[in-house]
Symmetry: C2
Subunit: 310 residues, 2 copies
């Protein structure tokens, strides 16, 4: 297999993941519509080109019945010289041409009891190096132990079945990355995160690719049961306000801390694709703290690292 | 006059400005309440202490009839060693104890036709140096030439009457600072901004202090007539959505670019006082562009540097 074939193969797998995920999200959107009393929406695709080379397709569902916003983006970009965000992680890539392809998604549900979700899987080539990275994490506004256990257990089972990364390592990596130091709290309840995955041996590339490919499919098993479990839960103005307030933290994380977002903003990336991750609506309040003992206050004990997998 | 007397004098002037501004904003809030059909609100004060030395009082009005959020913060802090945000501007301050006091405010009106407003005035001492800084700027969701002319003409008159800074310089400084490179647009229509103001001569300090003191008073003449002119303008869901969308830009500026906010987040400052500047509610939309020829599209020609003063 030539290098170019590899690029096309991985890019095709990312596009396949995008198509499968969109179909699954639209199915949930149709199922939830009667409960929300709103019409189900579809994803619209917007293709963009990168002046420096490559491009992508951002598929976005707006003001749906289940998803207030859902975005699934695939890109494949290349350039003459690896940017700092690549060579800081892989020093050997510095000064070499690079290729990067990946799928990334953020889902902001309408119902405050349905957690928000983020995932991405990506593949890089630079110089003689090639590697995978990615992960997924969950951001609830209300904490449910059974949801947290389901999500983390599904991820642990998937990771351990492949045996290409160490579960405690990728779980801990996620806890540390999605952390707001200025709030001294995690963005959500974590998940898994890995980078620089480059397995040795003749079948190393295939094993890593299989792991990533199934990672995208695992999203359906890890996240969608929680959406279906909660999308019909009645809620009112109080729960909506709390959801919007928690989304403020999501905005703070993405604009202040997220490496991908900050890199995109600093390097003149496609601004709409970069900021697709922001919620449709977010709230800030001065010196707000939920009433002690309330369901809102209960979230705090979910926003610390914890071993949820059974 | 001893150094300590000077600190107390300037701090007292900042507190006086805070009290006068709050009284004036509450008066406008009472006037606008019948038009909004909502009860007028008052400012609440929250005092905070800085573990390293000093503290402040953040006064916030929440969900008012005219101001959806208004915050006026005064602080006076000191420390054994000037932080980077100080010595990067004043290299002579490095390694010296410092003192800083100032008043800062952000007003997010409820009516989409009333522009948002930001101002701050501040005083520093470090080593043998002492200097003033500050400014104010306007962020409308809908552009009105008469409003822009009034705001900038009032500021120009004030600056030229004192003759301690050059008007084109401080106007241009503001245009360049409140700029979002990733959007290629100004945050609003600008105003004035200055720093490192340290006038020579025996009366230099007094002249600079008089300029800053009147700057705080000029807020009333520059901004409040615009609030009174627009707070009763009828609006609907369309104007509200546009206002919230534009507030998304305000969030992007403050979290991605504002030096004060980023410094505060990075140095473990009082998080509630730092993020008081964020709007109560903000919206993001994917690939949104207002209809050509609409009042919303008309804002774009206000978001480029322009000489508004008559």
């Amino acid at each position: 297999m030539t290098l170019t074939d590899t690029r096309e193969l991985v890019h095709e797998i990312m596009r396949e993941a995008q198509a499968n995920l969109i179909a699954a999200f639209e199915e949930v959107e149709r199922e939830g519509a009667p409960h929300a009393g709103l019409p189900p929406r579809h994803f619209d695709g917007a293709t963009w080109e990168r002046p420096g080379g490559g491009g992508g397709t951002a598929c976005v569902l707006t003001e749906g019945a289940v998803f207030e916003r859902a975005g699934v983006n695939v890109s494949a970009v290349h350039g003459a010289e690896a940017p700092p965000s690549i060579y800081q992680e892989q020093p050997g890539a510095r000064g070499h041409p690079y290729f990067a392809t990946g799928v990334s998604m953020v889902l902001h549900p309408r119902n405050p009891y349905v957690p928000a979700f983020h995932a991405n899987f990506r593949y890089f080539e630079a110089g003689t190096e090639r590697w995978f990275g990615g992960g997924m994490d969950l951001t609830p506004a209300y904490g449910f132990e059974e949801d947290a256990r389901h999500f983390h257990t599904t991820l642990k089972t998937y990771v351990e079945r492949h045996g290409v990364v160490d579960y405690p390592t990728v779980k801990d990596w996620c806890d540390r990355y999605f952390y707001l130091p200025h709030r001294k709290e995690m963005r959500g309840i974590g998940g898994i995160f890995f980078d620089n995955l480059d397995l040795p041996g003749e079948d190393g590339f295939d094993r890593a690719l299989a792991f990533v490919r199934e990672g995208a499919a695992t999203i359906l098993a890890a996240y969608l049961p929680l959406v279906r479990r909660r999308f019909a839960t009645p809620y009112g103005e109080r729960e909506r306000r709390w959801q919007l307030y928690r989304r403020g933290r999501y905005v703070e994380f993405n604009l202040v801390l997220d490496r991908g977002t900050r890199f995109g903003l600093q390097t003149d990336g496609n601004i709409e694709a970069i900021l697709m991750s922001l919620p449709p609506l977010a709230r800030w309040e001065f010196q707000y703290a939920p009433e002690p003992g309330s369901p809102e206050a209960g979230l705090a004990r979910f926003l610390v690292p914890r071993d949820w997998a059974e």
